[in-house]
């Protein structure tokens, strides 16, 4: 009998216990209760635009294939042959009519169905049950604005609609930076990083207003001088938000109209107004934000950031660059240049973040100093009519937010 951990005590409202970042047992609980039983980001539809397209990814430690079948249905299946455990798909992405396991030749359809086996006569009557031997499918797959989420082992206790309710307006805004409301994910480059510490440090760190003027002083200086970042951006409605169910947001700024015209070329603004209407276009263009969709996705200005735990103390982070459909070339090129400026492994921002995350991995080895603090601004939070909590952007509302859902799922999981 393993002892059940007290997650209310380990993940408190204002602090988390260091064992959440170090303990193999906590990690196993997280896999079982969060990564296999709640909404996990797997792909964006633009990554698999045509029938037969697939990409492989991971839900927690589990390798999965996201496929688009002939009839344009999206499927998520576990990349594990039901015969003897071999991964049936050896590539990151591609197009195929079916998956044929190269060990003994079992063939599976895009929805996982077992279609054929090699040398079937070697099986006697009753030895091979096609129906039960398909690739294991995720229990639930749904998407919102092309963003595909799946739940692997059980149907989540909340609908995707409910899960995203508090942050949908920001997802919509992200897409509507395109004049036609559509983006293409990953075609224009994917940064592939890793660091030697727990995955939650990147979840917390994707909406970090407090570190920016310290860690990124030199990068912000260049962005202000050369990239149209307003020098007094902190005066423009910056805030942190807890959007519910672990989702949270760092609003970097929300510009007045004059500043929008400084930030973006007039032709782009005109096109946006033509397609979206003036009010909607200006509303979208005013904003810059980092949005975490708990646990493994963050939407930042020019990227889908995907967080992949690889054990308790190693994390892969992929940044899928995003392009705006039907936006002027100039705008998309600017998204390319500004993204690589900050986030590539040789860039002016990202490497400094990963240096900090590595150092967090080092410091947190000191288990006798138990607490990671998130209490900044806890006494001055405000709540809106939807129950969303707000704090200053350099306070820690965004870092506290994931742990409301964390506690809920970790305790829920212990009951099943």
């Amino acid at each position: 009998m393993t002892v059940e951990r007290d997650y209310d005590d380990l993940a408190r409202i204002d602090r988390t216990h260091v064992s959440l970042y170090n303990d193999q047992g906590v990690y196993s609980d997280e896999m079982e209760r969060i990564f296999y039983r709640s909404w996990i980001y797997v792909a964006h539809e633009s990554e698999i635009p045509n029938p037969g397209d697939y990409k492989t990814t991971f839900m927690g430690d589990v390798p999965v294939i996201v496929t688009r079948s002939e009839n344009n249905e999206i499927n998520v299946v576990i990349n594990r042959c039901t015969h003897r455990g071999v991964a049936v798909c050896p590539l990151e992405k591609g197009n195929t009519p079916s998956f044929v396991c190269q060990y003994h030749g079992w063939e599976f359809g895009m929805d996982g169905e077992l279609l054929a086996v090699s040398m079937p006569r070697g099986y006697n009557e009753g030895e091979l049950d096609f129906k039960s031997l398909g690739l294991v499918s995720a229990k639930k797959v749904e998407s919102y604005r092309g963003i595909i989420f799946a739940s692997l082992l059980s149907v989540p206790d909340i609908s995707l609609d409910e899960k995203l309710r508090g942050v949908k307006e920001y997802i919509d805004m992200y897409m509507d930076f395109s004049p036609v409301g559509e983006i293409v994910v990953g075609n224009s480059g994917v940064n592939k990083h890793y660091y030697n510490a727990n995955w939650k440090i990147q979840t917390e760190g994707s909406v970090e207003g407090y570190h920016a003027p310290v860690t990124h002083a030199t990068a912000f200086d260049i962005m202000i001088r050369k990239m149209g970042m307003p020098d007094n951006y902190q005066g423009y409605g910056t805030k942190g938000m807890d959007g519910g169910y672990g989702n949270n947001l760092l609003e970097v700024y929300s510009l007045p109209d004059e500043a929008v015209y400084k930030r973006w070329p007039a032709e782009y603004i005109d096109l946006m107004i033509e397609k979206h209407g003036k009010e909607r276009a200006m509303h979208v263009l005013r904003h810059r934000f980092n949005l975490v969709i708990f646990p493994n996705l963050a939407l930042l200005e020019y990227q889908f950031r995907v967080i992949r735990p690889m054990g308790v103390d190693k994390t892969e982070v992929r940044m899928y660059h995003t392009m705006l459909k039907d936006a002027p070339d100039e705008i998309n090129t600017r998204r390319v240049r500004e993204h690589e400026f900050f986030y590539s492994p040789a860039a002016f921002g990202g490497p400094d973040d990963y240096a900090m995350f590595d150092r967090a991995g080092q410091g947190m080895k000191a288990e006798m100093v138990p607490w990671i603090l998130f209490n900044r601004g806890i006494k001055s939070e405000e709540v809106d009519e939807h129950g969303r909590r707000y704090g200053g952007h350099t306070q820690e509302t965004q870092q506290r937010a994931p742990y409301f859902e964390y506690r809920r799922l970790m305790k829920l999981g212990s009951q099943s």
């Binding site: 480059g189 994917v190 940064n191 592939k192 990083h193 890793y194 990068a219 390319v336 690589e340 080092q362």
Partner: protein, 169 residues
């Protein structure tokens, strides 16, 4: 650039240039290294092995004009580039050098083997990193000196998982 087919470079001269460049980088003579570029030069590390990749439509690891390279160098020297605390030691080994001249521009193709190490890290045991790349240097002569109009470094694993490249390559 006016077509001037008179400018030629032998392989030995090309090697001398690349060895000298490597030496400046490895000895931390960054300001001297910077002077090897022309004012309109490009310092480029693509994310893709595709020779036709369009840098306006695809993210690069580095895509610096000289203004941005100056910012990069200034930042590296400021002590506020935290990924470079402690800083990297590098050793650039250059080989498989080939030279050609196209429209008055000398193009040197070479292989680069790069070793990188960081001493004095609190966590100790920083593993010696080894990187491999194909380089393309484009050179013109200005006032009797060879200058780079472009330096392109294509890592063998440019589209793979990369830990950190916060040093100059």
């Amino acid at each position: 650039m006016s077509a001037n087919n008179s400018e030629q470079m032998t392989r030995a001269e090309a090697e001398d240039f690349l060895f000298a460049e490597a030496c400046l980088l490895d000895q931390g003579e960054v300001n001297e290294w910077r002077k090897l570029f022309t004012a309109d030069a490009l310092y480029w590390l693509p994310y893709s092995r595709d020779v036709n990749v369009d840098p306006t439509k695809h993210v690069s690891i580095i895509y610096d004009d000289m203004e941005m390279l100056d910012e990069r160098i200034k930042r590296l020297q400021s002590g506020a580039c935290h990924a470079q605390i402690p800083g990297s030691r590098t050793q650039h080994s250059v080989n498989n050098v080939r030279v050609k001249t196209v429209d008055g521009v000398v193009i040197i193709d070479s292989y680069l083997t790069l070793h990188e190490y960081r001493a004095n890290r609190q966590d100790r045991f920083y593993p010696l990193q080894t990187m491999a790349a194909n380089c393309e240097h484009k050179l013109v002569k200005q006032d009797g000196e060879w200058k780079m109009t472009s330096k392109k470094v294509v890592l063998l694993n440019c589209d793979g998982e990369i830990y950190d490249l916060s040093f100059l390559i």
